[in-house]
Symmetry: C2
Subunit: 281 residues, 2 copies
């Protein structure tokens, strides 16, 4: 038995051999499935799209958390929109100085299913600093002003109920919810299989943020693997690593599977292709 | 109609929608096919494995040529083993100071089919500096001593007649064929779908070369996309860009699709995962 995900206007397919279907339900928002695969171990699907696998989840979760943390000066309050699997929360929770971590996941069932099948991801959701809000991130953010030091948009593709999370209105609300040197991180799709107009996504980000950068990390389960991410900020660029955090990060990164600060600095050195796709050249 | 390539012990599949089969033959060495795909344009297959596509060939060919050229001091003589599509030759031929470019391709039919269907790749094969040798690279290299400044191993996977190109005996012959500050480049597979023991490949390289480095570039047509490459050298590391070539490279890279020297420097900053897979940590 195989699971195939078709993308890029139905011209590309990625497939994984499946041992078992461990879970399948229709939540209020989407179809949630968990497969047991030969290559990846457990694999979470939302509406038939790959979201999280046991084998490679560390890449996305580590880069989303440790890149902005390494740059941030004050980092008391963190918000994650989406990301009901808990992986990004787990990585932020490794930093003891963070005071609160808010997780806004529209679909509570994603959290419950993740707790059952991906305990390696959800392990920090019961940390006393973490508050889970089962709400629409698009609405949640409008009420917050000058509060969060880092905001992570851990969203699905710009379709259906996630499409609002790629608009200039939303990025403006995120900007307003951030403190004066705040940082927004978001996933910005695959430029080789550019189905969602990456240039437009970056153009929207630039309408709100003075500094918009991009980097790449591989997501072996996502269509075309070469995944781009955005780093948008009010004050500090991605190379402005906070020197005060250097020793903390050097100690931590010995136990991380992907992130280290040398990689961080190199990852923002973009190829001509990457620059062109996000509208820089 | 779809073309699917299965890999990683038959647990992973990548597929491309096909408009037409443009060519199919059994050469003395392998099955050679050219497909016309919706997403990639023309796609060359050897024994059912993706080799070159019109849409993304620039990535592999630019990084294989311009990384070692940028580091090299003297660069009179270049050897490419494999690479019958001509793409790496095309990129080296952009450097006017190179005196000779030898291409050793075991299967002449790959060159002929590429000339017919991938003229964008083969455009420099009639350059007066280029000599094509329809020979086995494994045998060819044994007769060369202290001659080439750069040697590129543009091979298929470590299977069948290409498996010799990943052995320590071969790397030792390459070392001997290189001049005193020579550089070897090779493709070293995907670490996430590690079917060919990448750690062993790098261990073999280290037995011959004092400096062995690795970087990544995306090959959207190869299984799992995240593709690693080796940079092995006798004297200069990949960060020792030749300052004399700086202006030439700055001018050239304005017309390149992937390579630029900032990206070059960043690409060798490895994640913990990449380091671990090649035996560095």
């Amino acid at each position: 038995m195989w699971f195939h995900e078709r993308s890029y206007y139905n011209t590309f397919s990625m497939g994984w051999k499946v041992k078992n279907v461990l879970h399948s339900e229709q939540s209020k928002f989407q179809k949630i499935e968990v497969l047991d695969t030969d290559a990846l171990g457990k694999l979470l699907l939302l509406d038939g799209k790959t979201m999280v696998s046991e084998a490679d989840e560390f890449v996305y979760h580590e880069v989303m958390a440790h890149i902005p943390y390494s740059v941030s000066r004050k980092c008391d309050h963190v918000l994650i929109i989406g990301g009901g699997d808990g992986g990004v929360v787990r990585e932020f929770a490794k930093h003891q100085s963070i005071k609160t971590i808010d997780l806004v996941e529209i679909d509570e069932r994603v959290i419950e299913v993740s707790k059952e099948f991906f305990p390696q991801c959800t392990s920090a959701l019961d940390d006393s600093r973490v508050t889970i809000h089962a709400k629409d991130g698009f609405e949640f953010i409008k009420k917050k002003k000058n509060h969060y030091d880092i905001i992570i948009i851990d969203s699905t593709d710009p379709e259906d109920f996630a499409s609002g999370l790629f608009t200039k209105e939303f990025y403006n609300d995120v900007y307003n919810a951030l403190t004066e040197d705040g940082i927004m991180m978001n996933q910005t799709e695959n430029p080789f299989l550019d189905e969602f107009d990456i240039k437009k996504i970056y153009s929207n980000m630039r309408k709100s943020f003075p500094f918009v950068h991009s980097f790449f990390a591989p997501m072996i389960i996502y269509p075309g693997v070469y995944w781009t991410f955005g780093f948008s900020s009010k004050k500090y660029g991605p190379q402005d690593l906070n020197p005060v955090k250097r020793y903390e990060m050097e100690a931590l990164q010995r136990s991380l599977k992907w992130y280290n600060q040398d990689w961080h600095k190199g990852a923002f050195q973009l190829s001509n292709y990457h620059k062109q796709k996000i509208g820089l050249i």
